[in-house]
Point group: D2
Chain length 160, copies 4
């Protein structure tokens, strides 16, 4: 992911939450109704079988699905969300390499939205499926976001 | 959690998986059909709103539910499992302090089991609900586990 | 369930929806944050194995969880809701006899609530677990309901 | 759906279960890893708001996902399954007309499979999303099915 501050995604990448930093995923695609997170799997993501821990997959699904509903085309504005429920089906074990979580909004309205997410490995193999229900935080319901002025941040979600 | 090697749980605590080490939860209660995980929430578990990240809660639920079905009373034996699906409802935001995930097996048979899990904060407030479907790994179906001879390990699951 | 029009539940029982009539469940307990539905299992509820169809159980869970969040103590008022998501775990096969779905609200706020539901047979055996996310319809957010004047109806939900 | 007994689907259609008869859905497409159910919505499928009851949608999802994993190309053989868990997201209200539930298997092995299902109205609008975990009944694990000789039945599932 680009470190260039002139790209919209750079701002999010620069100010990750504690947990996002811990996991180390990156927001690599983001547009209206869609988001993709990428993760370079390392030893810290594995369980004792040497496969990606289920908690890593649910974290990616949770975050990707939320980002998909929070895109705001206006700089200096932000939409915020919180997850209400999350359903995950684990399809195949993930191993070392890059994995991506691709999310898209499937429905919803001003206050709630629903995303579905697929997690794939570098070879395109399906690792997990997820579906999340999210609610917009107060003031974040409008597609054009809520103007914010956080120091060093121009756009984001609560999902980081 | 005791570091005393003479307690059954100590062995698991001593050899956590990469991801379990990263999150830092401890298996604090474990018996037939039940398990409790504990986590001391720190900055690395939080999202940018300062509340516990959803991925932390799903990780606890995933792991606690699996442990609940893998207890084996026999030393030097192990039961292994993999999560098939996980459903989580997020009830209230979690903040600093201790949180616990209490799981119990609700049904199942030789090959599959279903656990339900509640995540509570130190004051007993419900933070999240979860339900998981797990399958036993080959050789782990029997309640008396499968004899193992892993160096430095006497009992455990794949959930770490 | 009583047919006595002087009981609060009678009104709901008298005006079931098409699908509720088809399935034939009754609302047998209803108070703040809780609801119980009862069903007398008959041949029409069974699959070809002679056990209660999964769709019957999900219907009971869906409806019971919604009722739990829609109780209104004031006569002539109504709270309405719609299901956003539903997760069900099937624990054991159900057979002929009475089954009940017991729901209680586990969390939520003015716009959304979350219920968990257990379906039990006459012997108290757990048949299924469910958790639902529901949103209140406009005007139904307040615990004291919304005044209504539907002909022949004094209270209810959209769940029937 | 054809009533011609020479088509594979005809047999299933002729011997529906009690609940399948009650709901009235038809199996209109069925091949390896995929299944489509169709339903002509009538008053009996509606809730008191005049929209398709959530229980109708979960029933279609449950059954379609199960059929998708039970197709057997050999006549006179049958594969049987039971649902372990089901997750549903309700996207939009359904009204009168035809609705279809399109399922496909997303993963699994000899004993368990996972399907995802979309329910669409006649105009192609997404009404609901579902994901199910199913287990094969004993003897049904093999893709070529288990030979059976039920009177008047040549192929089917337990899902009806």
């Amino acid at each position: 992911m680009s470190k260039n501050d002139s790209t919209p995604l750079a701002h999010l990448a620069d100010i990750p939450s504690g947990f996002r930093q811990l996991i180390g995923f990156r927001l690599t695609e983001w547009k209206q109704g869609e988001a993709t997170l990428s993760l370079t799997v390392g030893p810290r993501h594995l369980n004792r079988n040497g496969v990606v821990h289920g908690g890593v997959l649910t974290t990616l699904i949770d975050a990707a699905g939320g980002y998909a509903g929070c895109y705001c085309p206006h700089p200096n504005r932000v939409r915020r969300t919180a997850t209400v429920s999350l359903a995950t089906q684990f399809i195949a074990p993930g191993r070392n390499g890059e994995i991506v979580a691709r999310a898209r909004v499937r429905g919803g309205g001003r206050r709630i939205f629903i995303s579905s997410v697929e997690v794939l490995d570098a070879g395109g193999k399906l690792l997990a499926l997820g579906e999340g229900v999210y609610r917009y935080s107060s003031g974040s319901e409008k597609p054009d976001g809520t103007p914010v002025e956080r120091k060093g941040e121009t756009r984001g979600t609560d999902l980081g």
